[in-house]
């Protein structure tokens, strides 16, 4: 029997033992992006103005289509199931044009990403644009980075409360305007604005505005970079879109390393000194809160603000710009080989600079010809081909259409005189915003006559019907074949519709069914 004290200790450990326990849920680390100035920042302002301008102003553009159609240039008329885009009018069955546009947008995104990386994310994505706009407000109310950090840490005071209230109120106002602009795409904008303000709009309008206000405020003001990092699928997909010739925002450590906080002092001490002065300007301006010097990472939306920040620092210390720059992996690797003597040595500035301190001539720079490579040609080809096919299809599409449905029950009716009658539901589509007069004609079926129940006109082989602008007209048509002709059995024939005012025409082949003898 073992002694009490000699009981063997088992090698076991609680997985959540106090010593190894860590929080299961991480609070978000707040990011306070500093204001950047420079070429890319200017470009982003311009893109922001254009994209927001398009979004807010488009519904207010007018386009004259005559008295029978709305005069809004871009309108998704859900009630009447029509989509208007300037001179183009799309019916529901033509929605594949919109699908085609989406395919083009997808391929276009691939094309842009393979050439200039995540330009969509960095400049034009609504999330980026609105976050940028919200940051403008934040900066105007609370000040730049340091002031904001200070304010955030400060205890609650009247001043802090006032600033926070003003900031969030402005954000909400922008959010309401964002949601508010969206609804104008779906109804006549001036009318809807009056209805909206006076409280006469339908509940769906207010619900839509409320939802978009909530998402804009939450995504743009509160969640910001988390939307890109956690919610968006594109950062995951983009890895497959980039290759060694794609331009991405790159920290050129081949000239930056080894970074030294006090470069001059370090140089005086005889240490090797790279261009990077480790000032963290690139980190401070980053809206995603990352350090580009850690290399390409999922969080980076390539907004290029770190390039602006670094360039102004390089200007200040008298070094050439481009320590952080748009570069391809190919060029970067080539330059890295130079800087490390093909990996034999640690990065050494002496290998990339000549005696005068200038970069050596063999340093690779981006060349426009890199854009023209098989991959981009394939993407552009596919993109252009779809566009071309759609354009041709759009130009050649019918604005007159006919659909015919043969009665199933009864398939035919024997009449007292021995003749046989078939019933058809004929749908005539007048797809232009003007009233038109069509003729409906029987082609084939010798001896046959038709009568259109609604017109009450006598039996004939041709009928004249008016169709309202942009409407479909359903007609019940009876076709009768005399006894002797019907005795020869079922046969095919066509309904042909013609516009009396032009040469537009369309036809539909169907069957006349006669009893089997």
């Amino acid at each position: 029997m073992l002694d009490r004290n000699e009981v063997e200790r088992l090698e076991a450990e609680a997985v959540n033992a106090a010593a190894v326990r860590q929080p299961l849920y991480a609070p978000r680390k707040k990011i306070f992006p500093k204001r950047a100035t420079g070429n890319f920042r200017r470009f982003k302002w311009i893109v922001m103005a254009i994209t927001l301008g398009i979004y807010y102003l488009t519904p207010w553009l007018r386009w004259d289509r005559g008295e029978f159609a709305p005069d809004q240039a871009v309108l998704v008329d859900l009630a009447n199931r029509r989509f208007y885009f300037f001179f183009i009018e799309i019916w529901p069955q033509e929605f594949f044009y919109v699908a085609g546009l989406l395919v083009m947008a997808g391929i276009g995104l691939f094309l842009v990403t393979t050439t200039v990386g995540r330009a969509w994310c960095g400049y034009t994505c609504p999330q980026t644009v609105w976050v940028d706009l919200f940051l403008v407000v934040e900066r105007a109310v609370e000040g730049d980075r340091n002031a904001r950090i200070k304010l955030d840490k400060a205890p609650w005071s009247a001043d802090k409360l006032a600033k926070r209230v003003v900031k969030h109120a402005t954000w909400l106002a922008i959010a309401v305007a964002t949601g508010g602009a969206w609804i104008f795409y779906f109804a006549d904008a001036p009318t809807l604005l009056v209805d909206f303000v006076t409280g006469h709009a339908v509940p769906e309008v207010y619900i839509t505005v409320a939802i978009l206000t909530a998402t804009t405020y939450t995504f743009g003001g509160l969640m910001r970079e988390q939307v890109c990092t956690y919610m968006c699928p594109w950062p995951r997909i983009q890895a497959a879109m980039l290759d060694e010739n794609s331009l991405t925002v790159t920290y050129n450590d081949w000239r930056g390393e080894p970074r030294r906080r006090h470069a001059k002092k370090a140089a005086a001490e005889g240490k090797i000194v790279g261009d990077c002065v480790d000032c963290n300007a690139c980190v401070a301006v980053c809206p995603m809160g990352i350090d580009i010097r850690d290399g390409q990472q999922l969080e980076c939306i390539t907004c290029a603000l770190c390039i602006d920040a670094c360039d102004s620092v390089m200007d200040k210390i008298g070094k050439e710009r481009g320590l952080i720059s748009y570069a391809t992996l190919c060029d970067y690797n080539a330059n890295m080989s130079i800087a490390t003597d093909n990996g034999a040595e640690p990065i050494s500035p002496s290998l990339v600079r000549d005696g005068n301190g200038e970069l050596v001539g063999s340093i690779a720079h981006f060349h426009l010809s890199k854009i023209f490579r098989p991959r981009t040609f394939v993407y552009f080809g596919a993109w252009a081909a779809i566009g071309l096919v759609m354009l041709v299809a759009l130009m050649a599409r019918d604005r007159i259409d006919i659909n015919v449905l043969h009665d199933r029950n009864p398939q035919f009716v024997l009449l007292s005189g021995g003749s046989v009658r078939n019933g058809y539901t004929v749908k005539l589509l007048n797809m232009v915003p003007q009233p038109r007069i069509f003729t409906l004609e029987l082609h084939g079926l010798p001896g046959g006559f038709m009568s259109v129940a609604e017109t009450g006109a006598p039996e004939s082989r041709i009928a004249t019907v008016g169709v309202e602008p942009d409407r479909l007209r359903t007609l019940k048509v009876f076709v009768r074949l005399p006894a002797d002709a019907a005795a020869r059995g079922s046969r095919d024939f066509s309904f042909v519709v013609k516009d009396t005012g032009s040469d537009e025409t369309d036809s539909y082949e169907t069957t006349f069914i006669a009893p089997e003898n």
Partner: protein
């Protein structure tokens, strides 16, 4: 195992579990994710309080909002009734001829009539209104009691040989088996058949012509085109009610079948009968 293990490459702590040397990183979830989860829990509880949810022994909790799908259906039906009240009133106030002349009213009446037809009439006349032996086809242009809109309305409203309505259509063809000999019946049948086809025995058909004139022409007409006042069918057309061969015709002469149709006015009301009349008239044979 007692101290924290930090993964070298990522600098992230691991869970402490090791499988064949592979460790699992312990990246914490974002906090707002957790909040979202709590929010869904709160939402689900609130939902079951607000709406009918928890099953009890014979029913379920009714929810504080008082929602029920049956009440919603009732509301929707009431809204539909209200929406078409104007058109229904117009049908009630407008004469049948004027309904036919009015595009919108005619379309409404026909489609309302179709719905009523499917519920009340299709059992005998068929869903396509094709009828069958003894039940007339309503698509064709052959009408026992008249094919204009008024006549159709009368027939539907009061029925045929219907005990429950004094204004019902009534006629009864005598059983000629008691009046004529078997041979004579066959002769008449041969004559009637010859009006549209080739009889098996031309001599019998010729003999039947005289018998027809004496016995049948009073109701069916000398030209055998029938008389809608008596509901006497047209015998000189391609459409047969109880069968088209000579034997079937003879059987009908000897001991005729008399179909009955109920009158619908008392059951469905005037408006529905009007709608039914417009629908039947629109099937293609209306005069």
């Amino acid at each position: 195992m007692s101290e924290k293990h930090i993964d070298e490459t990522t600098g992230v702590e691991t869970t402490g579990h090791v499988w064949d040397g592979i460790r699992e990183l312990n990246n914490p979830l974002p906090r707002w994710w957790l909040w979202t989860f709590y929010l869904t829990v709160i939402w689900s509880v609130a939902y079951t309080i607000a709406y009918p949810a928890w099953p009890l022994i014979s029913s379920a909790t009714s929810g504080v909002l008082g929602y029920s799908s049956r009440a919603e259906l009732g509301k929707e039906l009431a809204a539909v009734e209200e929406g078409r009240a104007e058109l229904v009133a117009a049908v009630a106030d407008t004469s049948l001829e004027d309904i036919l002349a009015d595009q919108e009213l005619r379309r409404f009446a026909a489609s309302a009539g179709e719905a009523a037809y499917m519920v009340n009439c299709s059992q005998c006349h068929g869903s396509g209104a094709r009828g069958s032996a003894g039940y007339p086809n309503l698509n064709d242009d052959d009408w026992l009691w008249g094919g204009d809109i008024e006549a159709i309305y009368q027939t539907i409203a009061h029925g045929v040989r219907f005990d429950g309505d004094d204004a019902t259509r009534f006629s009864e063809m005598p059983a000629f088996g008691d009046i004529l000999s078997g041979e004579e019946v066959d002769q008449v049948a041969a004559y009637v058949f010859s009006l549209m086809g080739d009889p098996s025995d031309q001599a019998a058909a010729d003999a039947g012509a005289a018998l027809y004139a004496d016995n049948c022409a009073a109701c069916h007409g000398e030209d055998a085109k029938g008389l809608t006042e008596f509901g006497a069918p047209n015998l000189a057309d391609a459409i047969w009610f109880y069968g088209s061969d000579e034997r079937a015709i003879a059987a009908q002469i000897k001991n005729p079948a008399h179909g009955v149709m109920p009158g619908w006015q008392s059951r469905l009301g005037e408006v529905t009968v009007k709608q039914l009349a417009v629908y039947v008239h629109s099937l293609g044979g209306g005069e």
